[in-house]
């Protein structure tokens, strides 16, 4: 799993990648730069994913396949692994000027192959 996360962290501007349990917000696997608290990322990403899922269900857009929180000093990108994968989230924490499209592709690839 750590090798799969390599694919994400190799992208310039990615500060860390993780596999997170969507149900309880616990870390399943992680590869993070120093200073990033894996436990906090996992818990917050899972909580936000849950709230977003409910809002998207209500809006009729279906389950999210990718989401992206943009902030002043960075971003959080997430691909939910789906039910077959035991509700895992593939998560990346990035710098603000990262290539979002590339990170998205790597997250989706990891979700398909490793999750």
């Amino acid at each position: 799993m750590s090798k799969a996360l390599d694919m994400i962290t190799r992208v310039r501007g990615v500060r860390g990648a993780m596999l997170v349990s969507a149900e309880d917000g616990l870390v399943v696997a992680e590869q993070l730069m120093e200073g990033i608290k894996g436990g906090a990322v996992a818990a917050l990403a899972a909580s936000l994913a849950g709230r977003l899922r409910r809002a998207m269900d209500a809006a009729g857009t279906g389950t999210s396949v990718f989401w992206h929180l943009q902030a002043e000093q960075g971003a959080l990108l997430v691909v939910p692994g789906g039910e077959a994968a035991g509700s895992l989230l593939v998560v990346a924490v990035t710098e603000p000027d990262v290539n979002i499209g590339l990170v998205r592709l790597e997250l989706l690839r990891v979700a398909e192959t490793a999750v």
């Binding site: 990033i36 917050l44 977003l52 409910r54 809002a55 998207m56 999210s64 990718f66 989401w67 902030a71």
Partner: protein
């Protein structure tokens, strides 16, 4: 008119590179054959992408089709190519008026007036706007326009600058797919419908406050600073959440086919409109 169209079509068929597509497209538009006019304009644009008149024609057809967002882009492009294009300046003034931005509408009409001081239609548009009636669409279509025309927007604009239902007037899909709510999840403007056509405005609004709080908490605790947007791709549609002011949230929902990048641009425009509306309240 039909003869004109036949003759112009024949000319264009003989010389596809000629600029006769401009007259043909306009003739079709005036006759209300908007799909045919659109095809002619698009083919012309493919051959003459840097011709301001081609963008102007395309924008007029889009306006007749009530696709104001794309019409704005086309007139904007025409002005970038030819800053003194009076048709495009008048078109932009018309669209600015429609969304209640009187200042910009006046500025564009004034710019058109500087270019063509003897054009009576510009004076007429300025006079109409000052009376609160609104400038006419640059070259009006004979087909009657339904609810979202300048005439109907006038009532909303003249009373208080904007009314709630018109917060997003002029934006593509403004009445279904844009939602402005306050921090407590109360709807300020816009509406949402799901795929079956059911109104889901209130239920989505209620969830948004929670999403926003969680987004703010997440960005803050991860040391990412203030959050400024949340985009998501769903199985059946894409969404973008922004906050025009610290107390308000804006949700844009579109079909799956709209890429997230384009959705973010649309959300940016809607955010500016929402900010202006909120400032006036």
């Amino acid at each position: 008119m039909a003869d004109d169209i036949r003759a112009l079509s024949a000319q264009l068929a003989q010389d596809p590179q000629s600029l006769v597509f401009l007259r043909l497209g306009e003739a079709l538009r005036r006759k209300g054959q908007l799909e045919a006019a659109l095809r002619v304009a698009m083919n012309g644009l493919e051959r003459h992408p840097h011709l301001a008149d081609a963008h102007d024609l395309y924008a007029r057809i889009l306006t007749d089709k009530h696709n104001y967002e794309r019409a704005f882009d086309e007139w904007d492009m025409a002005v970038r190519i030819a800053p003194h294009h009076t048709g495009a300046l008048k078109g932009l003034a018309f669209l600015y008026f429609k969304v209640g931005d009187i200042e910009q509408a006046e500025a564009h009409l004034a710019a058109a007036k500087r270019v063509a001081p003897d054009d009576p239609s510009i004076d007429q548009a300025i006079a109409m706007m000052r009376k609160g009636v609104g400038p006419p669409s640059p070259t009006p279509s004979p087909a009657p326009e339904p609810a979202t025309t300048a005439a109907s927007s006038t009532a909303a604009v003249s009373s208080s600058g904007f009314d709630e239902a018109r917060v997003f007037a002029g934006l593509e899909g403004a009445n279904e797919g844009l939602l402005l709510v306050d921090g407590a999840g109360r709807v300020l403007g816009g509406a949402l419908r799901d795929a079956s056509g059911a109104d889901v405005t209130d239920s989505v609004a209620a969830y948004l406050a929670g999403v926003s709080q969680e987004a703010a908490r997440t960005a803050k605790l991860l040391g990412l600073g203030a959050w400024n947007g949340l985009s998501a791709e769903g199985q059946h549609g894409n969404v973008h959440l922004a906050h025009p002011t610290p107390e308000a949230l804006l949700l844009v929902v579109r079909e799956r086919g709209m890429p997230l990048g384009r959705l973010a641009i649309l959300a940016q425009r809607a955010t500016i409109m929402a900010q202006r509306w909120l400032e006036r309240q």
